[in-house]
């Protein structure tokens, strides 16, 4: 990678946020944090991330609504937005996709797999990278 991909992580729980951040930093990503949906919308505009990881259950406006708000902005229309969902149930995953997320990652996240999983969502990624 020429310059590290920037990941915006929107997650209200401090420890889970720290975990994702540290794993991604260690894997060579640039990480931007947001602790709420409102904050996430602002960070998405100002920091121009390459991908957004979005917790679904956020205080105030929830993950789905935050995603849909970001989608309506010029930068948000083609950026991958991936749901972080605590529910391992299929109906929740299907709901996330139906609501317009590009994908989902179930919690607990796999520390080993997370960097690769994120790379797969990035637009300029190809298998022989």
């Amino acid at each position: 990678m020429a310059s590290p991909s920037r990941v915006l992580v929107v997650e209200d729980n401090l420890l889970n946020l720290k975990l994702v951040r540290d794993v991604l930093l260690q894997a060579g990503f640039d990480v931007v944090e947001a602790r709420s949906g409102e904050d996430g919308i602002v960070r998405a505009q100002e920091d121009q991330p390459d991908i957004i990881l979005m917790d679904l259950q956020l205080p105030g406006i929830d993950g789905t609504e935050t995603m849909q708000t970001i989608r309506r902005t010029p930068m948000g229309s083609n950026i991958p937005i991936v749901a972080l969902t605590a529910f391992a149930m299929s109906e929740d995953r299907e709901r996330a996709l139906r609501n317009g997320f590009d994908g989902y990652l179930s919690k607990p996240i796999s520390v080993r797999d997370l960097p690769r999983q994120i790379t797969e969502f990035l637009p300029n990624w190809s298998a022989d990278d």
Partner: protein, 758 residues
């Protein structure tokens, strides 16, 4: 008010069933009474038969007192010899027999064993009849003992309180028969009035028959008041039920009254202490007001007066000493009520008591069910949010220990590595427990959704095996699978089937010694797919076989290599049941265990959602099912699996209506409680539209409003829970399905059992 428990609910249900049974018996008596006013013996025969059946006795007999002795009037179960003996040597009204004692004491007498009863003198009667446990009730008419109803068993098996209450009520019915006999005899002497009286008897009989033909209570109550009003020569009336807790009456239904009046009547509380109706109930006899303009008006009478009513009679509905409700009849003109009308209505009211009582019970039951439902909802909401709160920190525990174990931030020594693994596995264990608790609470709240799809059995087994392969390898356990060549696809909930298999397999690996074997076998057995997970572990003792399916019970005593959550098998059983299958266990201590799961194979149901159904249109007849509850939809669809019907599902009234217009189905299965456009509106729309008017609509609802449904044009009305047979027989009757049922696969009629609320 205190929250009801499940026990309350069961008790109430039992009372309701008891009352319904008794209701039927009463009705038989009423019907017999209506049929044969000139043949009272036939009516008494019905009473003794009902009493014998409901009180589980060998013999039941009614004796009438004539000249100071008991004359046998009707009996069932007595030998000819006994009858001859009791006719030649009748029992006397004294303490020497059970029935004599009942007449002397004027209340029910129960003797656990007449052989040990010191006062019992009729050894000949005991000997001829083999009497042991015995019970008798006096028949009282206007305070006078006119006879008795006697039961006995030929073994020592004392009668209980419930049976005592039943006997008392049957004796009261028998007394009514005697009263009616007297009435009829009096009538016969008064030729001019005969026709009119007979008309009244027919009114009673009509009530009896309505009650028998349906248990639709409002209809019954409506019939009661209609007949009461008609034959008392009045213009209108109402039936009230008594609310014991609130000490007031509430209007259930009315006849000859405007809807506005009925609505207003239903909003008021008619107090026991301060109203005319209350006075009638307190004094236990009819009370009337010939001219409302001449008296002080209570709120109920004020309402009637303002609506133009001028004379009123209130008749209490009593059951023994207990106030059940009241009948009120009224006229638009002032005037007294005749003695005859009062007498007639009192008889009428006593015969309506069971119907009104049933109405009360039924409503209490409905109310308690609704409360239980709300509580169960709260419980599962609580569990869902709890498990979210607990999972969030667990995710951090699991994640950070993984970060360290992955050596992302440097190397670890052996001890650190070991402890981190302990933290990680404890965290994962807790997480699994939370997920299972959440799943269980979903099943229990009836909220676990069954997502049917058709999937490969081999792939599912392979997936489950792959989940345990690593752990098995660590303990040198061989995991093999054998899938019969004829096994291909299964229509069920793939995710849930996987979950069950993973659970059984990880148990098998957990409880098998190092170097052992675990095997998965899938084979069709009749019309089921049988999946067996067999291990060479230590086996499970006979006495533990049921217990291990209960929450937090682990099987074998020997400490397993890894601990489980203790919920896995409970959940497995609930899921398998929800999928219409069975799970059981074969095991021998020391020789391993085999868990069997049988799932219905069946023909895949065409349970596609409406928008996906478009392309398959036009082949099979279509049935549109409209129900907002997913599990109910799944269940009803599953019932129609393999019937050759294509099922199109709609989750609300508007979606259903658009499906019906588009597909013109052979039948519609309609729930009433729907969000937005409810079932009544859907039905009304269909019946008001020429192109849809002829489509038969089967209402399937938790609400018991058959009369309203049928009146609104429904082809049939089923009250939930509905069995497969209920639904298919209606469809056969409507010729949506062929008349003969031979084409139907029978064995998976239990498919997709009810959600686990029962």
């Amino acid at each position: 008010m205190s929250m009801p428990s499940a026990e309350d609910h069961r008790r109430l249900l039992r009372d309701y069933v008891d009352a319904t049974e008794q209701f039927k018996a009463t009705n038989e008596v009423l019907s017999a009474l209506g049929r044969s006013t000139s043949d009272p013996d036939a009516v008494l025969d019905t009473v003794v038969k009902s009493a014998r059946r409901l009180c589980r006795s060998h013999v039941a007999a009614i004796y009438l007192i004539e000249d100071g002795t008991f004359r046998l009037a009707s009996s069932v179960g007595l030998s000819r010899e006994f009858v001859r003996n009791i006719t030649d040597f009748p029992m006397e009204v004294n303490r020497g027999t059970v029935i004599g004692r009942a007449a002397v004491e004027r209340r029910v007498q129960k003797v656990p064993d007449v052989l040990t009863d010191t006062e019992f003198v009729r050894v000949d009667v005991q000997h001829l009849g083999g009497i042991r446990s015995s019970m008798s009730a006096p028949m009282l008419l206007d305070g006078e003992v006119v006879g008795g109803l006697s039961l006995y068993r030929t073994e020592v098996d004392p009668f209980d309180d419930r049976e005592e209450a039943l006997l008392e009520s049957f004796a009261a019915q028998a007394a009514i028969v005697v009263r009616n006999v007297h009435l009829v005899r009096a009538l016969e002497d008064r030729g001019a009035e005969l026709a009119r009286r007979l008309e009244q008897m027919e009114a009673l009989s009509e009530v009896g028959q309505t009650v028998g033909s349906s248990l639709v209570l409002d209809e019954v109550l409506y019939n009661i008041i209609k007949n009461a009003v008609r034959f008392a020569g009045c213009d209108g009336g109402s039936v009230m039920e008594y609310l014991e807790e609130e000490r007031c009456f509430s209007v259930r239904t009315a006849y000859g009254s405007s809807p506005e009046l009925l609505a207003r009547l239903r909003t008021i509380r008619i107090e026991l202490e301060t109203t005319l109706v209350g006075r009638a109930a307190r004094e236990a006899h009819p009370v009337f007001v010939p001219d409302l303009s001449q008296v002080e008006l209570d709120p109920h009478l004020r309402l009637l007066y303002d609506d133009g009513w001028r004379s009123v009679m209130a008749v209490p509905v009593l059951r023994g000493d207990r106030i059940i409700g009241a009948l009120v009849v009224r006229r638009r003109s002032p005037g007294a009520f005749s003695e005859e009308a009062a007498e007639f209505l009192q008889t009428f009211a006593s015969q309506s008591a069971t119907a009104v009582y049933n109405a009360q019970l039924f409503h209490e039951l409905e109310k308690k069910s609704a409360e239980l439902e709300v509580m169960s909802q709260h419980k599962s909401d609580f569990l869902a949010s709890m498990s979210h709160e607990l999972r969030t920190p667990l995710n951090a525990v699991i994640g950070f220990s993984e970060v360290l174990l992955e050596r992302l931030f440097g190397d670890l020594n052996e001890r650190q590595d070991e402890y981190l693994r302990d933290i990680l596995s404890s965290g994962q264990h807790l997480l699994a427990l939370l997920n299972e608790i959440l799943d269980l609470s979903k099943v229990e709240a009836g909220r676990m959704e069954v997502a049917l799809s058709t999937f490969s059995v081999a792939a599912t087994v392979e997936y489950a095996v792959s989940m345990v392969r690593e752990r098995a390898a660590r303990h040198s356990i061989t995991v093999s699978q054998s899938i019969a060549p004829s096994v291909d696809q299964l229509t069920s909930d793939e995710l849930r089937v996987r979950q069950v298999l993973v659970n059984l397999l990880s148990n098998a690996v957990k409880f098998t010694h190092d170097g052992g074997r675990v095997e998965v076998i899938a084979e069709p057995v009749r019309d089921e797919l049988l999946i067996t997970v067999r291990d060479t572990g230590q086996g499970i003792a006979m006495e533990d076989r049921e217990r291990i399916f209960e929450s937090f019970q682990q099987g074998p005593r020997e400490a397993p290599k890894e601990e489980g959550t203790g919920l896995g098998l409970t959940l497995c059983r609930k899921i398998v049941t929800l999928l219409g299958g069975r799970i059981w266990l074969e095991s021998e201590l020391g020789h391993g265990s085999a868990f069997h799961v049988a799932l219905p194979l069946g023909v895949p149901a065409d349970t596609v959602d409406a928008n996906a159904a478009e392309s398959a249109e036009g082949r099979e007849p279509v049935v549109v099912i409209i129900d907002d509850d997913r599990s109910s939809l799944d269940l009803l669809s599953a019932y129609l699996t393999g019937t050759g019907l294509r099922v199109v599902r709609a989750r609300d009234g508007d979606e259903g209506l658009s499906d019906i217009h588009r597909l013109h189905p052979a039948a519609v299965v309609l729930d009433i409680r729907l969000p937005g456009t409810d079932g009544w509106m859907v039905l009304e729309t269909l019946k008001a539209t020429p192109v849809t008017r002829e489509i038969p609509v089967i209402i399937v609802s938790i609400l018991d409003e058959a009369a309203r449904g049928l009146a609104a044009g429904a082809a049939d009305y089923l009250t939930k829970p509905v069995s497969r047979e209920d639904l298919t027989s209606v469809l056969r009757r409507l010729r949506v399905l062929p008349q003969a049922d031979t084409a139907l696969p029978s064995a998976h009629s239990g498919i997709v059992g009810r959600t686990a609320q029962d």
